[in-house]
Amino acid sequence: MDVLANLGDGFAVAFTLQNLGLALLGCFLGTIMGALPGLGPSNGVAILIPLAFTLGLGPTPSLILLTSVYYGAMYGGRISSILLGIPGDEPAMMTVLDGHPMAKKGMAGEALSLSGIASFVGAFIATWGLILLAPQLVKIALLFGPAEYFALFALAFATLGGVSSTNQAKSAFAAMLGLGLAMIGVDTQTGVPRFTFGEVHLYDGLDFLVAIVGLFALSEVFIFLEHRHGDADASASELKVGRLTPPMSMIKQCTPTMLRTSILGFIAGVLPGAGASLGSFISYSMEKRLVDKEGTFGKGDPRGVAAPEAGNNAAAGGALVPMLALGVPGSGTTAVLLAVLLSLNITPGPLLFANNPDVVWGLIAALFIANFMLLALNIPMVGIFTRVLMVPPRILMPVVAMVSFVGIYGISGSSFDLLVMIGFGVMGWLLRKFDVPLVPIILGTLLGNTMENNLRRAITIDNGNWFTLFDSPLSLTLWAIAIIGFIMPLIVGRLVRAKMHERGDEEGSIAD
């Protein structure tokens, strides 16, 4: 079979000592970042991009490192959810509901290992889903012309706020801010400078890595300063883990749950505007409705731990499908991964599968490897990761800030970029106060120029006829989905949101 042959080649790429080492490092760092409240998949990956970049890693090794971090963070988020009742990152929010009660009952170890297994099942199934679905999506994408691509980008922006979006005007504002920032620099088609105001540093445009690290990582430091929250949430007494293997009966009881929610989570991840948080949310709600006959959900039911964890890890894998096949990410972290690809001069999308099969299949093989590594790391070594929770933010946050500076300075060696990054950090803090989502800004800065090029190409091909954008059935469909996707949250958003945040934080800006 074609797929298996490709996958075999992928494993050949991934199975080098360097790549395996990078995968292990990524899994380890990712789990730690996921576990620490305040660092999640998107800002975790964001800090490491410039580093992978300045270390001179090639495209495949960098991707292996960073996707391992991504998967690892998805695993790690559950640790503080279960032990402390504080989600380590947004997608782990639902795990608090049953995980923390389990820990209180003295079953922390079981909850951790069960959720580790659930994460593994979710991610494993999703990776197969990615293998099967992405090539199909590529076939559709090959039919796309510039007009369809323009519509597709519009669709991505319109749905990025997600079904749970609080305020669509703010999502639109964020997307336009990002696109506007992308316009800075010399116009690629005519060579005239735009929005540079005579500043030579701006002729090349803003480096999106600077924007990402500033918005995601540095703004977090300001948030901690604002609240002067410097002490660790965990004390040694809380972190008693106990028995580290779940009884077989518990695994058996949870197996149907894990399988169902993996598939559901995967679909949620593929769909635009859903992402891992929604994946874990609908997984939990569906299972609650299906199997919660005795009303034990929310009181420490193991199935309530397995469902959201399988769901969010599956969604994390699913979110890679549109990113790789179409070049249009559907979630915050995949937007950051897109930045990785773009900074390595790889354009994701249908041509990636044809031109760089080694990158695609090497990456997919790496996902499998990372998944097994994570399972191996997470069950016996969970004790090490729990100890990380005792590192107080007053030490951690300065390290985050300094590593951000190191990474950005490493790329360009210019103080100007550092100043721009600080500017983005302040902007990120301010926008988060206003509840403006940051992901559309990132996506805007990433895709702005491509989007404009597609627009101009489409119209130039049709001799200046703007209606060419709505000319084909394919583009009309995309526009229709975009419009529905933008309007739907206005109608159903309030409902979903109320349920999702029945108990949970209001962290909407860097939601994944």
């Binding site: 409240p37 305040g38 580093l51 300045t54 989600p87 609080t166 005007a169 703010k170 639109a172 504002f173 336009m176 696109l179 316009m183 116009d187 088609q189 005519t190 005239v192 735009r194 929005f195 430091v221 300001f222 948030i223 901690f224 300063l225 604002e226 609240h227 002067r228 929250h229 002490d231 933010p393 007053r394 030490i395 946050m397 300065p398 800030a401 300094m402 500076f405 190191v406 300075y409 060696g413 103080s415 550092l418 600080i422 950090g425 302040v426 803090w429 988060r432 106060k433 509840d435 627009l455 101009r456 119209i459 001799n463 945040h501 029945e502 108990r503 934080d505 209001e506 962290e507 800006s509």
Partner: protein, 168 residues
């Protein structure tokens, strides 16, 4: 959102009840107006772009103008249908953030002059002090952070960091 994952563990955990405190909406109205001003400025700046004689059908102005248009419309919506005010930090906290920004700017400017290790030790010590470490241990944490990053990223991974007069 009331600011980061911290809102989760606010005093007495009252943030768990995610009922939005309805009240003033002034912040969003101002935000909308600032956004509108930004959109107008962006449109103005787009109109200043010099057209090149070998332009394509669309030209370099059209897309920025579309962006400015949507930016303006969404700003108007934000101003007309504002959300409840976020919890703004007290003046003291605001000064705290400003001071951190100033320290970071100084860090960016002095990095090439003082060298990585010294500049980073000072900046990290400042940040950890402001986040609640005692003064003396702040100094120690700052130096350890700086040396730690230097060892891992420069000595082990070979990343080039800013060199100071002392060679590190």
């Amino acid at each position: 959102m009331n600011g980061g994952p911290l809102s989760l563990r606010g005093p007495a955990g009252q943030n768990y009840l995610s009922t939005q405190i309805s009240g003033d909406t002034m912040s969003d109205r101002i935000f909308g107006l600032v956004g509108l001003a930004l959109a107008i400025f962006f449109a103005w700046a787009a109109l200043q772009i010099e057209e090149s004689f070998l332009s394509d059908e669309v030209g370099p102005k059209a897309f920025p103008l579309i962006i400015a248009g949507i930016l303006g419309i969404s700003s108007i919506f934000i101003a007309l249908k504002p959300d409840a005010d976020p919890e703004w930090p007290s003046l003291g906290r605001l000064v705290e953030i400003l001071a951190a920004v100033v320290v970071m700017i100084l860090y960016a400017e002095f990095l090439p002059i003082a060298g990585f290790v010294i500049a980073t030790a000072v900046a990290a010590a400042y940040l950890t002090w402001r986040l609640g470490s005692p003064v003396l241990s702040s100094l120690l944490i700052g130096v350890l952070t700086s040396v730690g990053i230097y060892v891992v990223f420069h000595l082990l991974l070979g990343l080039s960091l800013a060199r100071g007069p002392l060679g590190f």
